[in-house]
Each structure stands twice: as C-alpha cells, then as structure tokens.
C-alpha cells in the first residue's frame, strides 16, 4: 500500500490491484462501523485506490493504516443484488464478434459470472462492476453515443455497468434492464453500492 496526501484534508491509499483495494475498502467500512476510524467525510473506492476525504490528520491516518492487518476479501461476503436483463443491446453483434461467440451467446456468458461493484462514479448510481474474465474485455466505442437510454447494460474495458439514467456514453450496449438503479427516496439511493455482489439473470424475450 502507498499513501498519498491530497491537499490538506484527504488521503489517497493506492494498492497493487483491484482485489487488494476491495479488501482494504471493506476493512475501512468495518472499522468505521466499529467506531475505530477517525472521523472521515467521504470514503471513495476506485479502481486501485481508496480516497479518504475530510480527515483531520491525513498523515497520522496514513501511518496507522499502514499497520493494519487486512484479511483478504471473502468472495461470498456482501449482499447479492439480482438484475434481470434482456440481452437486446445495439452493440450485441459487435461484442459477440470481439468475444468470438454467436450474438445469442453473449447473454449466457455475461449472466454466467458473479460480479462485484468495485466503485461508483460517472453519474449517481453508476457502478463499475468487475468479475468478467480478462479475455472478455472490450474497447470503448470509437465515437460515444450522445444519448444512452436509462437501464442500458454496458461493457467497457474490464468493467460492466448499467446506466441509471439517460446520458451520453461510450460503452458497448448489450442489454436492457427495468431495475431501478437510482432512487433518491430509497436508502441507499443506489441499487449497486461499492462492495455489493451482482448477478445478471437472462430474461426471456
């Protein structure tokens, strides 16, 4: 782990890989729930870092955090969210070609994996989901779409994501879900929160 101070009141903890990042993020949440973490306003996990923002003494926390024993993440730990999907996206054929499978097979492959929400960003409730094996990584579209409909299930790089609301976007669209990804009247507002496990289920057409 490497600790980088960010401004006067934040700390960026950097890790070797996503797995280690996830495990440390879980440890931070455990310690905060147990009252064993100094007050912190935001804990923001990302690809290989966790940002702690609104910390009184980032330098001191960095020294303390370096001494923690962090258990590896149990793959069965955390709530499971099921997201039903119709695999009918406009980029299905393109993704099938990149994967070397028939278009009808994309859904089977995609729904056959258990995912974990690595981090959120881009828009409220947009989760970056990891779990898809590396050989299924796909590039972003050369030209982003100006409007991607809400509920679009999409792929980019090693990640899977679902657009919580209509927005521009450059990810490859493989399907659609009616699941409500973001609802400010709900607690938490996001269906997919960092650390959650996610299963996509293939809906019949």
């Amino acid at each position: 782990m490497r600790a980088l101070e960010v401004g006067e009141a934040a700390l960026l903890l950097e890790f070797e890989d996503g797995e280690e990042t996830r495990a440390f993020h879980a440890e931070l949440l455990r310690r905060r729930a147990a009252g064993a973490l100094p007050p912190v306003r935001e804990i923001v996990p990302a690809a290989r870092t966790v940002l702690l923002d609104g910390v009184a003494d980032p330098g001191r926390l960095a020294v303390e955090a370096a001494r923690w024993e962090v258990p590896p993440l149990d793959p069965r730990e955390g709530p499971v969210v099921e997201v039903p999907v119709r695999y009918d996206g406009p980029d299905l054929a393109e993704v099938a070609a990149l994967w070397g499978v028939a278009p009808g097979e994309v859904g089977r492959v995609h729904a056959g994996v258990e995912y974990r929400v690595a981090f959120c960003g881009f828009a409220p409730g947009f989760g970056y989901l990891t779990g898809l094996p590396e050989r299924y990584a796909v590039p972003r579209r050369a030209t982003p779409r100006t409007a991607v409909p809400a509920g679009s299930v999409a792929l980019a790089g090693p990640y899977t994501g679902v657009y919580p609301r209509a927005s521009p976007g450059g990810w490859q669209l493989i399907g659609t879900t009616d699941a409500v990804l973001w609802d400010t009247a709900r607690e938490p507002a996001a269906l997919l929160t960092p650390g959650s496990r996610v299963r996509f289920t293939e809906e019949g057409v």
Binding site: L12, E42, V44, F119, P188, A190
Partner: protein
C-alpha cells in the same frame, strides 16, 4: 397572494438554488455541490437572520429578478451588482424589505461572477439526499431557475433572531492567487511543468462552470504517458487532461476521474477562484 413563495421574473444566464452541499454520498457518484462562494452565502444569510445552512439563490454574471408573494427581507451579496426593488435603487450587501408583489432585480455583476440572494426563511425547495443544492453535473436537486417558476420560502426566522449589518467584503482582485499543495500525481509531470505551473499566469476560460474553472496558459508537460486508473477526486483538485491545460475542480466536480491531479487548491481560496470571471488572471503558489 400572500403565500410564502416567490415567482421568477427573469432567471438570468444561470440561477440555481444552493446551500452548503450534499455530503456523504461521493462513493455513490454524487458530487458535493453547494454554493461556490460559501463566505458570501454565510454573510447574506446572517443579514436576513437565517441559519448559515439556509438555501439561497446563486446567479451567474447576469443576475436575476424575482417577485415575492409575501413581504420578505432579502439580502444580495457575493459579486457586487446593482440592486433595485420595483425599479428603485436598493443597497447591495444589506438587509432589504421587499413588499408582496414587488420585483427585486439583481443586476449584472460589476465584478466577479456569482451573486447570492438570501430570503428570510430560506428557499424551501425539496431537499434531495439532505441538501437543496442544484447539482448541474448529475441533475440532482431543484432544476435551475426558469422564467415563471415559483419556489417556496421557509418560515421567517423569529424577529428576535440575531441581526447583522453589512460587513466589509474584499471583492475580487485583478489577479487571483491560489495556494496549492502538490500531489497526489505531481510525479506524472516534468520538473519543468511544475515550475511552469507556479511561475506562469493563467487566464480563466469562458468554458468554466460550476464543475470546474478551466484555465488557459502554458500547457503542463507529462513525465509519463499512459492512463491513470480512475480515482477519487477532491474539491480544489487541479486535474490536467491530455491537452495540458489545468482545470480546478469546483463544487459540482465528478467524484472519480482518470486524469492526473497535479496539485490541490486550499479550500478557503476556492471562493475567489469561483468569482474569477472569464479573462481574469490566476496564479498558483505553493502554499503554507
């Protein structure tokens, strides 16, 4: 009509509802948002007897005009601008009584960018995730004002609430100096680029908004190629996209981002940054 509300007569270029912002949801991709000049907001709220967390209007360059449906005490502060009530001059930076049906006109900023209008009782738009702030990046909170819209006001503070007279305001200097701390990704830039950053004068671009203050000037050269995996972003982060032109992140900034952050501006300096109009000069100094 005597209900506690006001109608928007002229929305101006961009007028939004703002309070202290939306905290604790960054991990879900929710920006903090909130007023860009919190010191001006604290002052106008005090002038009308409000708690500092009351929601106000934030205008952008061209002000706005509103017609309260009830008699209400207001105060206009932030970027200095002409203020009138039913066409008659009224003071800026002081409590002003506006009768029901009268039009409060907040004119174009003489200096700076963002003026603030506090109403006694605050703007009582529905809070979202604990805040009434309009978040332009993700569309949370009340929509930006449009002509004809009607917004509710909160209950007036008790008459014995602490009363303040106008306080001095330092105004927007010709050249904004921002204190920064290098990192977390200063090692992605050449030593020459870091020198350039702290010795050059940058100019505020017209493309600036509540998300970021975009700056034009000598580009910052990278010491490393390649892409940085997305990481959490803080208020005041100075992100440098591939074109080398720094962007200072303001309240509606994305919570994660993939361009390296060369340095972070100290939070107390960001109000002046947000009041720097297009064309204003900005300098970065390594701050204590």
């Amino acid at each position: 009509m005597r209900d506690r509300a006001f109608a928007v007569v002229r929305a101006g270029a961009l007028t939004t509802v703002q309070d202290r912002g939306r905290f604790g949801h960054a991990h879900l991709g929710v920006p903090r948002s909130g007023a860009l000049d919190p010191y001006a907001v604290a002052l106008v709220n005090r002038l009308v007897g409000n708690d500092g967390g009351a929601a106000v209007l934030e205008t952008t360059l061209t002000g706005c005009a509103v017609r309260p449906r009830c008699a209400v005490t207001v105060a206009v502060g932030g970027a200095p601008c002409p203020v009138t009530v039913d066409g008659r001059p009224a003071p800026w930076g002081a409590a002003v009584r506006v009768e029901a049906g009268a039009v409060l006109e907040v004119g174009t900023a003489v200096r700076g960018v963002r003026s603030y209008v506090a109403f006694a009782g605050g703007v009582a738009a529905d809070p979202v995730l604990g805040s009434r702030s309009t978040d332009l990046l993700s569309g949370l909170g009340p929509a930006p004002l449009v002509d004809g819209a009607v917004l509710p006001l909160g209950a007036a503070p008790p008459p014995d609430a602490p009363h303040y007279e106008g306080a001095p305001w330092r105004g927007v200097p010709d050249e904004v100096v921002l204190r920064v701390r290098f990192g977390p990704r200063d090692d992605w830039f050449t030593a020459g680029a870091l020198r350039t950053l702290t010795t050059s004068t940058y100019v505020v671009s017209a493309a600036s908004n509540r998300v970021g203050l975009r700056l034009e000037g000598p580009p910052l050269e990278r010491a490393r190629a390649g892409e940085l995996p997305s990481e959490g972003m803080v208020l005041g982060a100075v992100q440098v996209p591939p074109d080398g032109h720094p962007v200072v992140f303001l309240a509606d900034h994305p919570t994660t981002g993939g361009y390296p952050v060369v340095c972070v501006v100290r939070e107390p300096d960001l109000a002046a940054a947000a009041q720097a109009a297009p064309g204003a000069r900005v300098r970065f100094v390594r701050g204590r």
